[in-house]
Amino acid sequence: MRLLEAYTWINIRFLLEGLWVTVQVALVAISFSFILGIVLGVLRHIKVPIIHNVLTLTIDIIRNLPLMLHIFIAYFALPQIGIRLNVFWAAIAALTVFESAMISEIVRAGLKSVPKGQIEAGQSTGLNTMQIYGEIVLPQAIKTMLPALVSQFISLIKDSSLATMIALPDLTHHAKVIYSQNTQAVLPIYLAMAVLYFIICYGLSRFSKKLETAY
């Protein structure tokens, strides 16, 4: 029963504090990257000649780099060119850049699934581009995008654990702090951390399945 001794209120509260930081980072990064991803996806779908090519190349480059590199660049390299971010915002910036590239790809694919006639109908009614995308195309595309979007959000939550490399006090980091003080606590605290991540991510994926059937 020595394993259970690690589950004291102090340890659990410390883990939950870490969880709260993870949730905060994830929520902020999700909302930023959702907005940015939609804007980028729509911009790529409109196909303005030069902007389109530049965007595509940039997004391909961002998508094909490891997230850990983005995090390191945001925290260690940006100060060299005069941009200083604290740990919290560096993590959010890296996650936002990476995930909004991913989401823009999903949005672009989703927008392609809407028949061209919808855009043409909008144009012939005299709506401007903003209105066409905001009120006609996106609401239809969001249904096809939803499962992919939610799985991207789940992977964002999982990826946020990498920010522990720059000592963001998130769930992973707090777990590390606890069990580096006491080797007895390694297994129980590790399990608690894994279970907490699993509950959040699995809960979200269940929720998205529900949404899918509701639509």
Partner: protein
């Protein structure tokens, strides 16, 4: 950046080899386990289905870092001492297997039932049907998706830096902390990662285009007029439908 590259050439090369080696080892094992798991998920025994599904759901929903930490921290403490590279690769294999299993499962589902029935009526055994008929076709369908998994895998292999296994990311981190030229170093490391991932992901996009054109398992019921319309419309349109579908299935 040039100076850095010349000065640390040996380190960077070693890192590149470790990254690529770890990715290839992981790919081989997780393809093997992933295929078995995908077959398990579609098996007729409910306990096997449940077991495989639990595995996939579990590893899809916890961070890779947590999986790798299990082998790096928990296993040496309670069981056997293992080095960083093994720990990282084991974590990568377990994690990637779940995603590859999911990909291959969608491929298996896309093969029409008639193929299996044809095999049965020819008197082939269950294992032969799977090995000779269904799997080769399924692999063809999911090849681009598997390639994208490999790109993800190369990116994920940067987790080896956490367990001090001497991959590209690890060396980059060392160089950055030695020279204090963080921006240059990370840009250099980024270029090296891109040289691995970018060609691969463009190749996969191309394959996706080619395969989408030649083989369309779920479009058998298209009417002739629709088919003609499809021929006229650009290839790109087809590919993107394909992408949307694969995104769904993911």
């Amino acid at each position: 950046m040039n100076q850095l590259m010349i000065k640390f050439m040996a380190d960077l090369q070693a890192g590149l080899v470790v990254t690529l080696g770890a990715s290839i080892i992981t790919l081989i094992f997780s393809l093997l386990f992933g295929t078995l798991l995908a077959i398990g998920q579609l098996s007729k025994y409910s306990w096997l289905r449940k077991l495989a599904t639990i595995y996939v759901e579990f590893f899809k929903n916890i961070p890779l870092l947590v999986v790798a930490m299990f082998f790096f921290i928990v296993v040496p403490l309670y069981f056997i001492p293992i080095n960083g590279f093994t720990a990282g690769v084991l974590g990568l294999i377990l994690y990637t297997t779940a995603f590859i299993a999911e990909t291959i499962r969608t491929g298996l589902l896309s093969i029409p039932k008639g193929q299996k029935e044809a095999g049965q009526s020819t008197g082939l055994r269950e294992s032969e049907i799977m090995r000779e008929i269904i799997l080769p076709q399924a692999f063809r369908v999911v090849l681009p998706a598997l390639g994208n998994q490999f790109v993800d895998l190369i990116k994920n292999s940067s987790i080896l830096a956490v367990v001090a296994a001497g991959d590209l990311m690890y060396h980059g981190d060392l160089i950055a902390s030695n020279t204090f030229q963080t921006l240059d170093t990370y840009l250099l490391i980024g270029l090296m990662y891109l040289s691995l991932t970018l060609p691969l992901s463009y190749l996969m996009r191309y394959l996706e285009m080619r395969l989408a054109w030649g083989y369309q398992p779920k479009r058998f019921s298209l009417k002739l007029s629709q088919l003609e319309w499809r021929k006229k419309s650009s290839r790109k349109e087809l590919i993107n439908n394909e992408t949307v579908r694969s995104l769904h299935l993911d």
